[in-house]
Symmetry: C2
């Protein structure tokens, strides 16, 4: 059997049995943005890892090595943000093809160091090795959080408001530009949305600290897929209001110019690395106020429903089913 027949998430379900041999200190194993285990009383360690593979996650000619370094660390920091934690210590594994110049790899590390410094993360070690052909970068990152503040995918309740902490879609437009080589006058910000995401750690800390949100995830697979993860883990469904999905004007102009459906890109492509969460209606104002007064954003985009699956409410109040698709590495 091939992996594309069962998909990335089918595969994860397949291998998760037998992974936990000592459960007393473990709060969360496979199935969230990070795993979570107890360290000292009241404190937990968050642990995550992400691998970027050449020609799967990036094209060497399309991203600068500096931004590749930044992104490799950023996507891990975003997983810590998605639990409401603080990123702390990272280790780097890198497999380097013989054809690559040292100066290229220096620039990858310069990028890693720059974003690590911005987020107060130490790069403490790792593994450097040769690669037969493709560049591979893997980061593993530990962070910390108060046990009572950690936010999982599994807490969403019927009636909760669904929110995001930033606009979505721009990263998908950047990716579209890379893949199609379309010429667009203001390409920079869209390419940067894809190549140089800024994880929402500050927003995550505020959301976690208030202790009013019920679930949190980062948008890496796409709003539809990531909200789908929350719904699956929480045993609920959701309705998204089409008109309330926040998008940059530049992103809308890109979609206009090339006759692309902005909704499709915003919902189904991903890699925006904003946070997506749920919060009971009574706490929406408090959470939105706290985020906005700290310079973060809050956009209510929908509601958690009892009925399974995702639905989209159009501007004419019609409801249609959103296919669950997001990014799956194997299908």
């Amino acid at each position: 059997m091939r992996l594309k027949e069962i998909g990335e998430f089918g595969f994860i379900d397949r291998i998760r049995n037998g992974c936990l041999v000592r459960s007393a200190s473990v709060i969360k194993g496979i199935g969230d943005d990070c795993c979570v285990f107890k360290t000292s009383p009241g404190l937990v360690t968050l642990f995550t890892t992400d691998m970027l593979v050449e020609n799967i996650h990036f094209i060497r000619g399309a991203i600068t090595p500096y931004k590749l370094g930044r992104k490799s660390v950023a996507v891990n920091i975003s997983d810590i943000a998605a639990m409401g934690g603080t990123p702390r210590e990272a280790v780097v594994s890198i497999a380097i093809p013989d054809t690559l110049e040292v100066e290229y790899v220096d620039a990858v590390y310069d990028g890693m160091k720059s974003i690590a410094k911005e987020y107060d993360v130490n790069l403490l070690g790792g593994d450097t090795t040769a690669s037969p052909e493709h560049l591979v970068v893997n980061i593993a990152l530990v962070g910390e959080a108060l046990e009572e503040e950690v936010l999982y995918r599994s807490g969403a309740r019927v009636g909760d408001v669904v929110f995001v902490t930033g606009t979505v879609g721009s990263s998908a437009a950047g990716l579209d530009m890379i893949l199609t080589k379309r010429a667009f006058e203001e390409a920079g910000p869209l390419l940067d949305a894809h190549h140089d995401p800024r994880p929402h750690v500050k927003a995550g800390r505020i959301i976690a600290g208030l202790k009013v949100a019920s679930a949190l995830i980062d948008v890496s697979d796409g709003v539809a897929a990531d909200l789908g993860h929350i719904c699956k883990e929480s045993g609920v469904g959701a309705i998204i209001a089409e008109a309330s999905i926040p998008m940059e004007n530049l992103f809308r102009r890109y979609c206009d110019q090339f006759e692309l459906d902005p909704l499709h890109l915003a919902l189904h492509v991903g890699e925006d690395y904003v946070l997506l969460g749920t919060v009971p209606g009574r706490s929406v104002d408090r959470l939105a106020g706290a985020l906005k007064s700290a310079g973060c954003e809050f956009f209510a985009i929908g509601t958690i429903a009892a009925e399974a699956g995702l639905r989209l409410r159009g501007s004419d109040d019609s409801l249609r089913t959103i296919p669950p698709g997001g990014w799956d590495h194997f299908t």
Copy 2:
């Protein structure tokens, strides 16, 4: 400039600047088997990562997927053992070529789970992705230790006895057999020494708990290179006694049959994953006794000297310089 011009360790020296942005809780960053940072009072977290790349670290047809899974976790466990710690929680990143059957990947995970269970390690999460061509497995592992017990590469003192906790060379013979396809009647144990190493966690815990050893490392790059790491970090040199290097009889027979120099394989090839350490002479008997009564091994193989570099004392009492070479991924 190409990486092979500066080598793996030259490269590491090149990138280590600027990696530490928050040093208060960090005891060891780049440059040991694990990085070490404080968690709760008296307790430290050990953090390590290792990447196995197809056609660099393994050949898909030469190792079973089950043993590949075991080895990918084992080499990380060995890094925790080399600090005297206890391995605890692991995350797995895997990049899977489209051509690979799900059943193959299942077997890789079965191997990971089997060794994780043997060493009481949880597999708590990770990242699964596609790969354009080569299979890549990265493990990141955290462990724990008492701060006062952790053993670094940097503590060796002139006059200390150099020891190993097991025989060396067999893994090199296994690798030789894979690369040369030599036919050898009793191939199994030599191939297993290479494909299925058993990290010396128990020995590491005993060594750390006694608090008499001055430095510790695991033999992954080869005795010469790994003792070289201890010497470099400790600012000393060492003399190894040729006759005292422990080798399996089967390994000697393999070298005899194919006219290979056992000393060369034992000193310069690596991947034995035994521990190599130093201990003051007055504590040798105590350490050896504690290890042996727990079913572990102890072999004194040399002495730490003031003069830099590694030297080999022959059976005729002659001294010759050992070239510092071990495994370097780039040269």
